[in-house]
């Protein structure tokens, strides 16, 4: 066989196919954007009571963020892929692991399992919003650094947010109470003992920073 893969004829075809491909992809992207508008246009019911607008303002970490949100979009998706707050992790996407935990009005929620449209008027806090403006870590974050609480740390931001949320209700928990309080988070490195030690120290740090 003497057919060369690099014959001018073949490569020119390849270029043409490539260019066609680019055009098709562009069309597909626009079509996707059209499809993702949802069946609003089909139902034609933009003005019914309770209709929602895609363009909204979210209060994230004390900032007002304007963002275009699909009706079916979860908060975890908005935070990570629209607002660039990738500290919030998506583990299971099914409320079964806790990696996506954020605070909504100071209460821990799984951000993978709540619609962004449902938190329109709420105050959202993510791991990025914990440290103070001058870069000082939150007492719980500092405790994690000091105690080396995690191995791979994929679950860490969820654990920290769950702990910060729990400590708002119970600032002085026993180890067992804390374990129960943050039981909605999984660590697949099975590092629970060290995590609890770190989080207990975080609680202690918070009490100390408050009293000083």
């Amino acid at each position: 066989m003497t057919v060369s893969m690099n014959s001018p004829e073949q490569s020119s075809v390849t270029r043409r196919v490539f260019i066609k491909g680019v055009i098709t992809t562009g069309a597909a992207v626009s079509a996707t954007a059209y499809l993702f508008r949802g069946p609003t246009s089909v139902l034609g019911q933009g003005s019914l009571p309770g209709s929602v607008e895609r363009l909204m303002t979210l209060n994230v970490n004390g900032q007002q963020r304007r963002v275009d949100v699909m009706k079916q979009e979860t908060l975890a998706m908005t935070l990570r892929y629209k607002l660039g707050l990738t500290g919030t992790k998506i583990g299971c996407d099914r409320s079964e692991c806790g990696a996506c935990t954020v605070l909504i009005d100071d209460v821990p929620h799984y951000s993978c399992s709540i619609l962004t449209h449902s938190v329109r008027d709420k105050k959202i806090q993510t791991i990025e919003g914990l440290e103070s403006a001058d870069g000082t870590l939150h007492p719980v974050q500092q405790a994690v650094v000091d105690e080396q609480g995690f191995q791979c740390s994929f679950c860490m931001s969820g654990f920290i947010m769950a702990t910060v949320g729990y400590l708002k209700q119970n600032p002085n928990p026993s180890r067992q109470e804390l374990a129960h309080g943050i039981s909605g988070n999984l660590c697949r490195c099975m590092d629970y003992d060290k995590i609890l030690t770190a989080m207990q120290r975080g609680a202690e740090n918070m009490r100390n920073s408050r009293s000083s």
């Binding site: 069946p39 309770g50 209709s51 079916q72 409320s95 821990p108 449902s118 039981s183 909605g184």
Partner: protein
């Protein structure tokens, strides 16, 4: 096995702020409408593409559906969209019906209780993993039950009242509400308000194989009323599960008992996760009436409770669990 797709398929979303607007939307879209409360059951279905509603009506912005208030007769009315955390922390619930507090506290995980609602917890769909994986079984409109075949894995399934479908009701608060003789307040645009006993709210496959409760399209569970009848009586709630977080019950038991001088006057005993609806044990209630609250009565009650159980290949373990739970419920915590 759950697969992570990019996002859920699109749907039209409504976030009404009043019950009236909600009912109008449910009436307008009927079968096409999906009621979204906490979303913990909902999003699994939508993410897995196993249910594809055109319209989702979110109850989260309706303040009238939230909160716990006393009723004139000394009972309580709990808004259907009240979170399980609120139910578990409410002082009046704790004082009058501590069993409901316990049941709510044992649901899933803290984050789920912070968002999951009591109306959603009682109205949630079954966890049968064949059905939830999108198999076209009876419950999904087909003509076979995949969980009741010779090779089926059916550890979580029914030992009572199966009828073609062998799925169970997985709720923890439902048996507590049935034991407390709660009333479910249902509203619709055209039908106004109807009140259904909790015991009759839940239905098995013999009545409707595709539904777990009596809600019709266009109807909304707006509140749960607990009468004062059983306030201050003796309660027992216990849930057996494999993991102490997240897990649904293998079996749970809820009992309310009026006891005087050590003798059981009257009782309501309900177990869940053994049938498609919370199973009220009326035979046991009748048998223990007038008997002392003793080890002997408890043993008799346990044995009687599981009579007629029909286990499948892998769920025979539920029989001794149920027997012991009923026994412990009758014997009470003091001697446990």
């Amino acid at each position: 096995m759950a697969t992570i797709h990019d996002v859920m398929p699109p749907f039209e979303l409504f976030q009404p702020t009043t019950v009236e607007d909600t009912l109008a939307l449910l009436d307008k879209y009927k079968h096409d409408a999906w009621v979204l409360a906490g979303g913990l059951d909902t999003f699994d279905w939508l993410k897995d593409r196993n249910k594809r509603p055109k319209v989702v009506v979110d109850l989260g912005m309706v303040p009238a559906l939230k909160g716990i208030k006393p009723t004139a007769d000394g009972g309580l009315e709990i808004g259907a969209a009240t979170t399980l955390t609120e139910v578990a922390k409410n002082a009046t619930v704790k004082e009058k019906f501590p069993m409901l507090m316990q049941a709510a506290e044992l649901v899933a995980s803290p984050q789920i209780r912070n968002q999951g609602t009591i109306g959603g917890n009682v109205s949630q769909d079954t966890r049968c993993w064949y059905y939830r994986s999108g198999w076209t079984c009876y419950r999904a409109g087909g003509n076979i039950c995949y969980a009741d075949t010779p090779s089926a894995i059916n550890r979580e399934h029914a030992i009572f009242d199966a009828n073609r479908c062998v799925a169970v009701n997985p709720s923890d608060t439902a048996p507590a509400l049935v034991a407390l003789d709660a009333k479910m307040v249902i509203r619709s645009l055209r039908g106004g308000e109807r009140v259904v006993d909790a015991e009759n709210y839940f239905i098995g496959p013999a009545i409707d194989i595709m539904k777990m409760n009596v809600l019709q399209p266009g109807e909304l569970l707006v509140a749960i009323r607990i009468p004062s009848t059983w306030a201050g009586s003796q309660f027992y709630f216990e849930k057996v599960r494999e993991r102490q977080v997240w897990d649904f019950p293998m079996v749970n038991v809820a009992a309310a008992m009026k006891v005087s001088n050590g003798t059981i006057q009257s009782s309501r005993i309900v177990v869940n996760a053994v049938a498609a609806h919370p199973l009220r044990l009326t035979a046991v209630e009748a048998a223990v009436a007038g008997k002392p609250r003793s080890e002997e009565t408890a043993k008799m009650a346990g044995d009687l409770a599981v009579q007629g159980a029909q286990p499948l290949n892998h769920n025979g373990y539920k029989i001794p669990i149920m027997k012991n739970l009923v026994k412990r419920a009758i014997r009470g915590e003091a001697q446990a």
